[in-house]
Amino acid sequence: MPLAYEGTDLLTTAEMAQFVAQGFLSFESVVPEEINEAAIAEFAPTGVFDLLRAKPDSGAPLAQIYPDPSPIGAMLRLPRVQGIIESLVGLDAVYDHDWVHVRAPHDTVDQHLHQDAIIDLTRAFDIQMFWYPRAVETHSGGTGFIPGSHLRKVNEFEIARYQNFCGQKDFVGPAGSLVVFHQGMWHRGRANHTDDERWAYKIRLNPTTPQVRRWNLEDYDAVHGTPSDHIFATYDPATAANMFRTPEPWFEAAASRLETVNRARLWRYLTGDQAFDADWYLTRTGGRERIDGTVG
């Protein structure tokens, strides 16, 4: 069966490492205008009452949902979108759910910060892809999120008390843009202070097979680096390890090192390289654990 994408539609190793470090990737103007407008026309009759829109069954194979003619299907089958999905969860992923999010003009309520679904224990992860069929300007309700929050183990709205973070972002971009979140990303719907409706379509996809090295590997060796990449010894600033040791502005000083370790663990899963390390933390403790049997 011919592939639905070219190699250049896949994510690069550098992009995958960035996703591991920050929990999101954004892509401007991926979806053509005719598909964007067809989507608005399809979403408008149900609007905020998206439960009334016809949807696939949870667990349906990605390849079988929204057959033609469908603007959602047309978006999902764009070669670039197929390449993004293949890189992160594989085209053998299944549909979890989707939702059309509409923010009415002058809806000044900010949603409380939350993770979706429930607290997650697995290293394998779902993606949540947001499609903005209309341009999103500043203060017009672009999805708010906290870069680097995706590996924090919290349960849905337990984090609602947190309002503002150094380094928080709100999506802003042209029509047809996509943002892909790791399932754990802390996020919220933002107030819309403009005269225009803000439209977003979100789809959650579950992987069915290991998410190991599905992306474009042309830059793999250069970005993956070596386990000895250690900021206090020798290091290469162009490697994944450097992305993983880079703190978000809101990381606590000590937790920042745990974030580095958790990013390295996720990279080990995605690459299948159980010797990968950033700043020697896992190698150092792993060596001692093998000596005395401690599991930490």
Partner: protein, 90 residues
Amino acid sequence: MSTRQQVLFLYLATSAMDTPVIAWSSYDGAGDGPTPPVVSDPTPPYATGVDALRDGWRLIQASAMHRALPGHERDVDFLLHEFIFERLVG
């Protein structure tokens, strides 16, 4: 009008109050604006917890420091260094 309470949550980079604010929340018992009062381009209201004290906020609670649960020593979840302040307004 009776006395009202304003509450400020500051989340600091360490357990020391003279370290940077990394996140914050506020609830204003004297105001009538929408909640939560989220801002789009956030600048912390104070650089550190001590700066809030020096501006008249009263500390009413600080996070306790707990040992990590066995088996979860490297987990990350909630912000660890929460300092809660109040200010009473007439």
